[in-house]
Symmetry: C2
Subunit: 357 residues, 2 copies
């Protein structure tokens, strides 16, 4: 969205204003009021949590996908088959966020009955921020695990062309003091992050891919050119990505990343997503489990810091701080994208070719 | 086991001879014939698969733990509680391999009934090679997912002292052409691997930790000294390690890595392990699912290689090749450790202080 070489300018917008504007943009794009509310809440919360890439920034592209017919805003989630604690849904290429929210909630309902609930969703579309659903399950009081497959965007280890998705994997541990949440794509850095560093004229903190000569590099521009982003942990992230892809497609009886590659539509179009909710107090008392978790987090957070003044934290803890700040001071947004979304909301901008695909 | 600075010498031993010798060592240590058979098979298979570190090499330390009373060879796995597809067991600090084999098999039995089976095991001991159980579930025709927590051996990201376990995570996808198996510890390299490189006088292929000055390094000796091994994917492996720890302890109502640290016994003593089996044909036909998986693997394996002549493979595929070679030519073993295990088997060596703890 931002032109190459142009530095982004940020501003802060009140959460409610942000959410209502996104909601209006969604309704203008053809979503029902109910679905627009769900989507706007998830996008606004992601920005409020500091995940701009899948918050406000992603709204224009979502609208573009709707306009292109890659996302069908009128599709309804369909229960295909079920066995006890496990259910299989077809998303019919409907709204990714709406499908994923309903499947997360259904996993929680199943866990209430069976102790565990597993929902395997196929033929859905981009769920935006993966962590949304693990957080949601944890906020409902359950442990959440969810992952998705995607089309290929990362080379398999030992290859120099994209061959596997970056397939995010998320786990949320419910705690009364705030959940601990892993939200981890299998690439070391997202392409979006490379752009941020390049525009700021900075090197990546650690090598993030290979240059065109096959050398490991921290130069974000060189990696954008080669398309050889680095799997997190080298061969480890590549291996985990491919099994996450296969497991999602197997569990949901849906498409693998390879099947999506063949169809060559928008990002995550037709993907599979898995949602697991687990009752944290199935075998232990609430008091014992919460005390065990709190001691674990306390010990981790009090590890001796490598750099004085930079305390260690567990994943998700800093997100809670960012969220608090956003609610108090307004949500940080990219000025240009904010203008664009306002124009979409007002019906003055018809987005049909943002992704260039 | 090998003295510092001494280069290891390897030889090949026929699989059956290896297994029977380990079995005899296990019986000499006090295991029943039945349990010795289970343990010997798992150790010998690990070596045959090329995972020496948790195959033959680990036998003396296991015997040491039995001799010290950290593993109780007479303990029986106990069903604590159950709800539908989920069962909770207490391992009573019995034999890690035996407990884990029984829990894997039980997960498969539950999956036969419920479509999915989840066994959460607490108070168990080291299961040796994590991938053993995912392979086992896949060989029974089910998708397997298993993970364990461990005592702290790796710094949290941003810390300079061990604060979290390297908590292996394993996934096996059943395929008629051989399973695809992820067996991934959360550290970039195991300490054992650092030793192998140091003894060979080699640098690690990629940075594997920090030296005493806090700089990222590929020098294995410098990392052994600082005890700052690198989480795979930097902050990603650290975050995943801590949620794997918490999720295992929560699901099994057992000890976290922090609880194990306080008790300060042998490696993994008292840990929690999770075993999940999922029916791959719950929602799709065998033909469709196998065809989807085969296409996915074929495409990944035919990614353009970064180096000509070095083909890309999915995890587990090369293991099958190594296993075939071991069965044909004999299993590769460290000569010195092989002698040691033979002496244990013959009752000529009483191991009580190998780990120095």
């Amino acid at each position: 969205m931002t032109e190459k070489g142009k530095v982004k300018v940020h501003m802060r917008i009140e959460y409610d204003v942000l959410k209502e504007t996104i909601k209006k943009a969604m309704e203008t794009a053809g979503l029902s009021e109910e679905n627009a509310e769900i989507c706007a809440t998830v996008h606004a919360q992601s920005s409020a949590d500091g995940i701009e890439s899948h918050g406000l920034n992603r709204v224009p592209r979502f609208v573009e996908y709707v306009n292109k017919g890659w996302v069908n805003p009128g599709a309804e989630l369909e229960l295909v088959s079920a066995k006890g604690a496990v259910e299989n849904y077809d998303g019919h290429l409907g709204i990714g966020i709406v499908n994923a929210v309903h499947c997360s909630d259904r996993a929680v309902e199943l866990a209430k009955i069976h102790g565990v609930g597993i929902v395997a969703l196929k033929n859905t579309t981009h769920w935006m921020r993966g962590g949304t659903y693990a957080w949601r399950i944890a906020e409902a009081g359950y442990m959440g695990i969810n992952w998705t497959n995607t089309e290929s965007c990362m080379p398999m280890w030992g290859s120099d062309e994209p061959g596997v998705g970056n397939n995010p994997f998320c786990v949320a541990i419910p705690r009364e003091d705030g959940p601990i949440v892993l939200d981890m794509a299998m690439s070391q850095y997202a392409y979006g992050k490379l752009g941020v560093y390049r525009l700021a004229g900075k090197e990546l903190p650690y090598p993030g891919g290979f240059d065109k000569d096959g050398d490991l590099t921290s130069d974000p521009g060189a990696i954008e050119k080669s398309r050889r982003i680095l799997p997190a942990g080298y061969w480890k992230g590549s291996s985990m990505a491919v099994v996450l892809d296969m497991s999602a497609a197997l569990m949901a009886n849906g498409k693998s990343g390879f099947n999506m590659d063949k169809e060559n539509r928008g990002s995550c179009t037709g993907c599979c997503q898995i949602f697991i909710a687990y009752d944290p107090y199935l075998f232990g008392s609430k008091e014992d489990i919460q005390s065990m978790l709190n001691e674990r987090v306390f010990a981790a957070d009090h590890s001796h810091p490598a750099e004085q003044g930079t305390p260690v934290t567990c994943p998700g803890e800093r997100t809670v701080q960012t969220r608090k700040k956003s609610m108090k001071e307004g949500v940080r947004v990219d000025e240009q994208i904010w203008s664009q979304v306002q124009e979409i909301a007002d019906g003055n901008l018809n987005v049909t070719d943002i992704s260039g695909k």
